[in-house]
Symmetry: D2
Subunit: 339 residues, 4 copies
């Protein structure tokens, strides 16, 4: 932590901050410049609220230096994590690109089996589909719930795809674990800490979506909650952030992929469906994500998007998925990977 004093700070002001720094268990280092004095506070105490020092007289600002997460960090674990998912134990985070696709919501048997088969044929390794749906409006379709989970489990039996589905409450973690392979934490729940701790105690890998406007630090701290609770198998998923842009549902910042890879050993997927909100933007952004180095994709795919019960606008068809996969394969190869 660097404490910058205001110009004109007296020796007494400086010593007051030195004392505060020491009270926080840190070692001070006073640097007297031409214009102002800076106090560097050394020591690894991530748990204290150092911002409080800002209240001391003549303090201008307090700047943290250390990343606030540990176990998710490349400082602690240098080799990249590989996380195996589904009946075939597909390794997410290796040379091979992971394509997970499926509808926003499980709607009925015919729909989910038809799409699952299409995903398998396209070379996907996972099937996504919501059984419990967090919906912005209480009047929207809330998902088939356990019935949906059963359909997903049946789809797995038919296709060997890994089942990825969202869990939205502590109470249903066990139930969702029973039927599926990967527990998805949605953007709205990224800082729902009780849920993070609950999936941290589960024995299934977790797909942790980025919160709507979260920073990388906040996101990696959410991963840290899960790892800290006992589950090291966290897959990050960039799904776009909220900005002023109005031609997209969210702005998809793909630089997050290499930026995360410099900070964490966890695998990073990208969700261009939520990341753009419009079907015509999904294939180009899937290609871009793979080119940027993402470990895989999660894509909304529906056999009849015009009648989808949710997220129809951003779902691509099985045919579009198939065409896309051919291009992704070549892009992956261009950067030394496979699809």
């Amino acid at each position: 932590m660097i404490v910058v004093m205001k110009p004109g700070a007296s020796e007494e002001d400086i010593q007051h901050v030195v004392q505060l720094v020491q009270e926080y268990g840190l070692k001070e280092n006073v640097i007297r410049g031409t214009d102002r004095t800076v106090i560097a506070a050394i020591g690894d105490k991530r748990s204290v609220d150092k911002g409080a020092i800002e209240n001391a007289p003549m303090v201008e600002k307090v700047m943290p230096i250390l990343a606030p997460y540990k176990m998710a960090s490349t400082e602690v674990k240098k080799e990249r994590s590989q996380i195996k998912i589904g009946p075939k134990q597909f390794p997410v985070g290796g040379r091979k690109i992971a394509m997970i696709a499926g509808p926003c919501a499980v709607e009925n048997e015919d729909q989910i089996f038809r799409i699952a088969e299409a995903v398998r044929q396209a070379g996907g390794i996972g099937l996504r589909g919501g059984a419990y749906k967090p919906r912005t409006s209480p009047y929207s379709f809330q998902g088939l719930q356990e019935e949906g989970l059963k359909l997903l489990a049946e789809a797995r039996k038919r296709t060997d795809l890994a089942i990825v589905t969202e869990v939205i409450s502590v109470e249903t973690v066990d139930q969702v674990c029973e039927y599926t392979d990967v527990l998805q934490i949605g953007a709205r729940n990224m800082q729902h800490y009780a849920l993070l701790e609950a999936v941290g105690k589960a024995d299934k890998p977790v797909l942790l979506k980025r919160g709507l406007s979260s920073t990388l630090d906040e996101w990696l701290l959410a991963a840290e909650y899960i790892i800290n609770a006992g589950n090291p198998n966290v897959i990050l998923c960039e799904r776009g952030i909220r900005t002023y842009e109005d031609y997209v549902r969210n702005t998809l910042p793909l630089a997050a992929v290499p930026a995360l890879q410099a900070r964490t050993h966890l695998p990073v997927l990208v969700d261009p469906s939520h990341g753009t909100g419009h079907a015509y933007l999904v294939p180009p952004m899937c290609r871009a994500a793979i080119a940027a180095g993402a470990d895989g994709l999660i894509v909304e795919c529906h056999n009849d998007p015009e009648h989808a019960l949710s997220d129809g606008a951003q779902s691509i068809t099985p045919q579009a998925l198939l065409t896309l996969m051919g291009k992704l394969k070549r892009i992956a190869e261009a950067i030394g990977k496979e699809a």
Copy 2:
């Protein structure tokens, strides 16, 4: 809903959309302009995912017309809601400004009693204080939990202030109800729907903070979840949004106050502590919020901000609170209210 067709859409394309509109239970109204055709779809069906129509051939965009919430809306209830809180049943939402103040977290008996007394003396009507703390880092102080709730209840007994505290999980709703007067839903939980439904079944008023980057529609839909579950006593609290601005923790958009008052009958408070993140900005933004027409304030106040266990940087002292209240009183009077 307005469906805008692309230029060059054929009659067949138009009829296809007309049919979709009818399938959704809406009545179409086709308007043929010089450049393009527009289809207005009439009827109140808030639950369907109309975006799906965007997938139909030659559709350029789909624009909603109706606000998606009902019970929170001034369309349904024209007179402004007054919500009574605490032992004195102070009416939030009337002529009198509600000042709620207190520390970020309950730390110990001496701290909370001392601050409660200062809040009472300054003319506050509520005491805020966290017992269950949602913290960005798993390594930060997580609150005194039930012990903290007991201290808050004791502070109420001594001061008659209404106790406002955050509830962060479905499991603890009953416990928090037992000790306190107002259930706060924090920004991170604004779209934690299971929790919204749980407090919707509780018999205490709810203080619903705006999510970090939520729109007014999303926020009012969160209120709608609570009202829809049976609890009409929702108080909204603007606490700032995330933007690129770096001299504040959040950007506090006070225009939200009159904009909300045009859309909803629910009372609106403002939290300038989280809304700015720095103690020196809190008094001016408190004054501005009242001048903009807010029904009250919720402010972090700590007797020793330099040593606060959380949010020290944004806490004002009891003395600053007292001085502020004098000014707020005069500003309230300037716009025909009282403090």
Copy 3:
């Protein structure tokens, strides 16, 4: 400047940075922590591009410490600036609130004289009105140009109001100076440096609007360009920033007012018309701006907003202005000022 090294940086890496720091004319101060080494570089060299050091091996990040502006800063000039404008030499920046109002664009004689008279009667001290209009679309009304300036000068003769009008090109600075009292630099031109230098050589005060998404540093550096070119009479004007919010044209961050007052001695006005974009939000945000401590307001006012040639949606009527002024007077008094 603080250079943070990556964990694992070797002594050679550190010495390489030390050498770079010295080449930049700064003095290094090496601080060896438990996890990583930090190099504080001391000395006031604001002109070099220190970010380049980020390219040195094993550098994690480079954090600046000093504000990049000087003459606009409270460090250099502690007493607040008062800038006198118009025939009556009204002091902007003192105890008395400055109200500047008028139409977006000068449209014709009748319109501008009628509005000028209304502004005078309401107690305004300045008349705003665009003669040269920077318009987003080449097909929009571009202003009456010199003819508009003449009408503004005539309105001044009739009312003694200070004339505030935008200047959009270096070529027209002299002409605009001839007819008016305050040169407005619009948000789009905040970083049009040739124009900043041109008004820096003019002998009229400058009203410098904040750029659409500028930081406080960028804004104060734009002021620094003007002061550095020879004109110390710069009035800042907050007019809202672009965010994801969709119920407003811009988000008006009033915390900028006290935040600026802590950083600069220049007066700060607020423009709630552009800052919200809707007439119904203008009066509450005017009140809030004054309560937050702004030195004055600039407001769009039109006698027939439904037919205004530009910005009709955000213009208030003369009657609304009059009512507003009564409230502003009382709010100003509440915080020890006058209106």
Copy 4:
């Protein structure tokens, strides 16, 4: 334009809006729904300020339907534009990817010739380099000006690369035209309309960067200014937008590439240097941009980034450029293009 009336609007209110719509030269179409009345106003009048109608009694909102630009639009010109640049008349906008690279600023003969040669060897088709530099601080290096232009012209003679350089004032347009091949309009000047009109009268292609926080509509309207002034040869360049993200200088929204291609026939380049601000993020985002379908790239490249006079942090080395080009070639092929 769609005018949405508030619930409870009377027939008189509706007729008042009908009359306004007619006054604006549009044809009304009144649609009476269950909850509210909507008035669709038909006719192509892009120049009027329809927002003014928002002031009429009982109007809730006004929603535009038509894109505000014409000549830049795919509605007016369906085939994609190809714009030929430099001594070799390289076609930007075709199957072949355009790589333009070079330093932020021309610093001296040795630097620019060395980098130009490296760009040529890597397969670039253009050399970028600033002679007139718009700098945020008046104390920063402002460029070599005409001397820099001469060095660029000499570098062209040696390499046959197209010279791309920024023009920052109306006065220097002719001079810049004399020495270079493509006139760059920087992000800060995207709405500097006098400059847009000046380059619109020049006989060189224009590279128009996206403004810092501009929408696609604003950007395409800036292009429209140039085309409208007589110069159809506009190349768009996405360079990132300002968001809350702090690990990048800007957030680079690559979905803008396909979104623009659906709206305009103009070629689209991407600038990952300004779009990220950090050298380590530049190669992955170059790859992503090409995979998303961009027509080319503009990249900062410096032989000694640690000592660059500006933008050192985001400049890649000639060696990194060479390696990158090999990968870009394969990615281009994967999507049916060439590099």
